[in-house]
C-alpha cells in the first residue's frame, strides 16, 4: 500500500516538468496559440519515449499527461496516445476522429462502416498519418490521411487546433476487445491533463492572492479569497488522487478500472473548470485580459471538460455501476 508515485514515476514526472518548461514556457505557448506551428518538438517527444503507450503504463501516461496540462503544452501527444490505445499496431502518427457532426454521445457514433461522413473537433488532423475513426456499434477503423479531407475548425482552446474531417470511405476495421479499456484510458489521460491545469491555476491564484493588495491587505487575507483558494486546492488534489487511482486500476485492478476512470473524468473535468472560474474571480479584471495567461488555462479546462465524455455523461456511467 503506497498511494504515491514510485521513484521511477517521479523521475518521469521531473523529466516531463523540466523538458516541457524548457520547450514550452508560457510565452512560447502563447506564440504557438496565435501563430500555429505546434509540431516542432515531435521528434524529441518520440525520443523521450512518451508516445509508446504499450511500454509506458497508464500511471506513467497519466503522470506525463498531468504535466502536459500543467505546462499547457501545445503538443498533439494526447491525440497520438488516443489513437495508439485504440490501435496498438499503429505506425507513424495517429489521431482519433470520434464525434459525429451534430452528435452528442461521447463514445457512440452513427457513422456507417462504409465510413462516409464528417467528424468534428478532430485534434492533430494536420499532422496525423492515420485516423482512428469511431463508427456505429462501437466499431473502430483506421483510415490513412491520404483518404480524408481536413478543414481547420475554430477551437475554443487556441493551444490545441481542431479540425473538421471529411471521410469518403476506405478504412481498415480494427479488431479486439481492448476498446473499452482504451476508451477509459483516453478519458483518464484527458482527466490527467485537467488535473495539471487545475494544479497550475491553483498555484497561480495562491501566489496572486499573496501579492495583490486591496484595502491595505493581501487579498488572500480575506476569507472570500482564501476559502476559494482552499476549495481549489481540495478539488485539484482530489482530482489528482482519483486520476492516479483510475490509472493504476487500468493497469492493475480491471474490476474497478471503468468506474474509476469515469469517476476520474467526471471529477477532474469539474475540478479544472471550477478552479479556473474561481481563479478568474481571485484575479479580478487582470485575469480577464488577453495578455494574462489565465484564459489559456480556462479554455483548455473547458475544452477538455467536453472532450471524451463530459462530467454528466461519466457520472451516469458511475451511477450505472451502483444502481
Amino acid at each position: 500500500m503506497n498511494f504515491d508515485l514510485t521513484e521511477d514515476q517521479r523521475e518521469i514526472q521531473r523529466t516531463a516538468r523540466e523538458w516541457l518548461a524548457s520547450r514550452y514556457p508560457i510565452a512560447r505557448v502563447r506564440e504557438i496559440a496565435l501563430d500555429g506551428g505546434s509540431d516542432a518538438t515531435w521528434d524529441e517527444i518520440v525520443e523521450l519515449g512518451w508516445p509508446d503507450v504499450a511500454e509506458l503504463g497508464i500511471v506513467e501516461l497519466a503522470v506525463v499527461a498531468e504535466e502536459l496540462g500543467y505546462a499547457l503544452a501545445p503538443t498533439p501527444l494526447a491525440a497520438d496516445w488516443a489513437a495508439r490505445l485504440l490501435h496498438p499496431g499503429l505506425e507513424g502518427r495517429g489521431t482519433v476522429a470520434m464525434w459525429d457532426e451534430g452528435g452528442n454521445a461521447p463514445d457512440a457514433s452513427t457513422m456507417p462502416a462504409s465510413l462516409v461522413g464528417t467528424k468534428i473537433a478532430v485534434p492533430a488532423a494536420d499532422v496525423a498519418d492515420t485516423f482512428v475513426v469511431t463508427a456505429d456499434g462501437g466499431r473502430h477503423f483506421a483510415v490513412p490521411a491520404s483518404a480524408v479531407s481536413v478543414e481547420p475548425a475554430r477551437a475554443l482552446d487556441p493551444t490545441r487546433p481542431l479540425f473538421t474531417v471529411r471521410f469518403d470511405g476506405g478504412g481498415e476495421a480494427l479488431d479486439g476487445d481492448h476498446f473499452g479499456r482504451a476508451w477509459h484510458a483516453i478519458a483518464v489521460a484527458a482527466a490527467a491533463e485537467s488535473v495539471g491545469v487545475a494544479r497550475r491555476v491553483t498555484q497561480m491564484s495562491v501566489e496572486y492572492a499573496k501579492e495583490r493588495k486591496q484595502f491595505g491587505r493581501p487579498i488572500g487575507a480575506y476569507q472570500a479569497v482564501s476559502h476559494a483558494c482552499a476549495q481549489m486546492f481540495l478539488e485539484a488534489e482530489g482530482a489528482r488522487n482519483v486520476v492516479l487511482w483510475a490509472a493504476w486500476a487500468l493497469d492493475h485492478d480491471p474490476a474497478a478500472a471503468f468506474v474509476a476512470a469515469s469517476s476520474a473524468k467526471a471529477y477532474a473535468s469539474d475540478a479544472a473548470v471550477n478552479v479556473c472560474r474561481s481563479a478568474l474571480q481571485v484575479h479580478g479584471g487582470i485575469g480577464f485580459t488577453w495578455e494574462h495567461d489565465l484564459h489559456l488555462f480556462l479554455k483548455r479546462a473547458e475544452a477538455n471538460a467536453h472532450a471524451f465524455g463530459d462530467a454528466t455523461w461519466h457520472r451516469e456511467q458511475v451511477a450505472a455501476m451502483y444502481l
Binding site: 470520434m98 464525434w99 452528435g103 452528442n104 454521445a105 461521447p106 468534428i120 473537433a121 475548425a153 475554430r154 477551437a155 475554443l156 482552446d157 481542431l162 493588495k213 486591496q214 484595502f215 491595505g216 480575506y222 472570500a224 479569497v225 472560474r277 478568474l280 474571480q281 479580478g284 479584471g285 487582470i286 480577464f288 485580459t289 488577453w290 495578455e291 489565465l294 484564459h295 480556462l298 479554455k299 473547458e302 475544452a303 471538460a305 467536453h306 472532450a307 463530459d310 454528466t312
Partner: protein
C-alpha cells in the same frame, strides 16, 4: 401591490412599441467602427424623438419621464432586440452627475452634446492597483494656475477611443483620508497628455482601454461637485447607475433566456430542463428585484440595496445561462460557435466588472444587514 401599468404608461408602451417597429435599424454590423456608427445613429434617432435622455428633465433636453417609463423602455428595447445607444455612459452617468452636481455653466456646456452623441463620454475611475479598493486610487491632479495637471493610469475605460470627455476621479489632496482627497473632473480626451491603449480581453475583443495620463490639463471650471468632494459625487452616481442598470440587465437576461429556450425547445433531458428552469426562475427573481427597486426609488427618492443584490444575482444568472448553453453542445463545445462561445467567455467577467460579487456581498452585509466591516 399592483403590477399593472397605468393607462398613461400603457399608452407610452404602445407608442414606444410602434415607434420601435417603424424605426428598428436591423442587425448591428460587425466591427468596432461600424458598430459605433450604428449605435450613434440609433441614439440620434431616439434623441430626435426626445427619448435619448428619457428621464432627464425637459429643461435639459430630456423627456422628464418616470422611472417606470424608463423601465418600460428597457424591456421594450430588449424584447425588440433594439441596439444600445452609443453614449451609454454619458446618458446614464455623466449627464445625471452634471445635472445633480454641476454648475449652470457645466449644464449648458455638456448636456446637449451627450444627448446628440456629438460628444461621447467615458469613465476614468478604476486603476490597475485600485480594483475593488477604489478609494486607494493614485492618479494625481495638481493645480497649476487655472488648470489641474493630471498624471496617472486608468484601466477598464470603455469607449475611451471614441470619447471626447472622461469622467475622471483623481487625487487632489494627498494628506486627507483616502476617500476625502479625490476630485471628480471632466477631462478632455483630445489632448497630448492622454494616451489610449486597447485592452484585449479573453474573448479576443477590445471592449475596454487603458488610459495613460501624463501631464494632461483640466481647467478648474471642469471640476464637478467641488474639489476633494469627488468620492461623494462618484458614489451617488454609481448608486444610480447600479439601480438603473439592474433594469436594463434583467431585460437583457430575459432575451437571452428566450433565445436559449428556442434552442432547447422540446428537449427531454431532465437535467437540462431543471437547470433551465432554475435559471428562468432566478431571472424572474431578478426582474422582481428590479421592480421592487423601482418602487422604493419612486417612494423614497434614493435607490435601495436592490441595485447591489441585482448586480450580484445578474452575474450568477448570466454565467449559469451561458454555461448551460455551452454544456448542451456536448463535444461541439470544444469549438467556437457564433453565439454562445463569446457570450460564455464574456459572462466570466460579469462577477468582476462594475463591482465584484465579493464587494457586493460586503455591501449587503455591512450596509443592509448592519454587520461589522470585514
Amino acid at each position: 401591490m399592483d403590477l399593472t401599468l397605468s393607462p398613461a404608461e400603457e399608452e407610452f408602451r404602445d407608442t414606444l412599441r410602434a415607434w420601435i417597429a417603424d424605426n428598428h435599424p436591423g442587425k448591428e454590423p460587425e466591427g468596432d467602427e461600424a458598430s459605433f456608427a450604428f449605435r450613434r445613429d440609433w441614439q440620434r434617432k431616439l434623441n430626435e424623438r426626445g427619448w435619448a435622455g428619457l428621464t432627464w428633465p425637459e429643461a435639459f433636453g430630456g423627456a422628464g419621464a418616470t422611472q417606470i417609463e424608463q423601465a418600460i423602455l428597457f424591456e421594450e428595447f430588449a424584447a425588440a432586440r433594439a441596439p444600445q445607444m452609443a453614449n451609454v455612459l454619458g446618458l446614464t452617468m455623466g449627464g445625471p452627475t452634471v445635472i445633480a452636481h454641476g454648475t449652470d455653466e457645466q449644464k449648458a456646456r455638456f448636456l446637449a452634446p451627450i444627448l446628440s452623441a456629438d460628444e461621447m463620454w467615458c469613465q476614468g475611475f478604476s486603476e490597475p492597483e485600485s480594483g475593488s479598493d477604489l478609494a486607494s486610487l493614485k492618479t494625481k491632479a495638481v493645480l497649476d494656475g487655472d488648470a489641474y495637471v493630471v498624471t496617472g493610469q486608468k484601466v477598464w475605460t470603455t469607449y475611451a477611443h471614441h470619447s471626447k470627455w472622461c469622467m475622471l476621479l483623481a487625487r487632489t489632496n494627498a494628506d486627507a483620508p483616502k476617500h476625502r482627497g479625490l476630485t471628480y473632473f471632466l477631462m478632455d480626451m483630445e489632448q497630448e497628455g492622454v494616451e489610449i491603449r486597447p485592452l484585449v480581453q479573453i474573448t479576443g475583443e477590445a471592449e475596454f482601454n487603458e488610459l495613460f495620463i501624463d501631464g494632461a490639463r483640466i481647467p478648474v471650471e471642469n471640476v464637478v461637485g467641488g474639489v476633494d468632494n469627488g468620492w461623494r459625487v462618484a458614489i451617488t452616481t454609481l448608486m444610480h447607475e447600479r439601480a438603473g442598470l439592474a433594469f436594463a440587465l434583467q431585460a437583457r437576461v430575459q432575451v437571452a433566456l428566450s433565445e436559449l429556450a428556442d434552442e432547447l425547445k422540446g428537449t427531454k433531458d431532465p437535467l437540462v430542463r431543471q437547470r433551465f428552469a432554475q435559471i428562468a426562475i432566478e431571472a424572474q427573481v431578478l426582474r422582481l428585484l428590479a421592480y421592487r427597486g423601482l418602487t422604493s426609488t419612486m417612494k423614497g427618492g434614493e435607490p435601495g440595496p436592490e441595485g447591489s443584490l441585482g448586480k450580484w444575482l445578474w452575474a450568477d444568472i448570466n454565467q449559469a445561462l451561458t454555461t448551460l448553453a455551452m454544456d448542451v453542445k456536448g463535444p461541439a463545445a470544444q469549438l467556437v460557435d457564433d453565439t454562445w462561445t463569446y457570450r460564455f467567455l464574456r459572462a466570466r467577467a460579469n462577477s468582476i466588472e462594475g463591482g465584484t460579487t465579493e464587494i457586493l456581498k460586503n455591501i449587503v452585509a455591512e450596509r443592509v444587514l448592519g454587520l461589522p466591516r470585514a
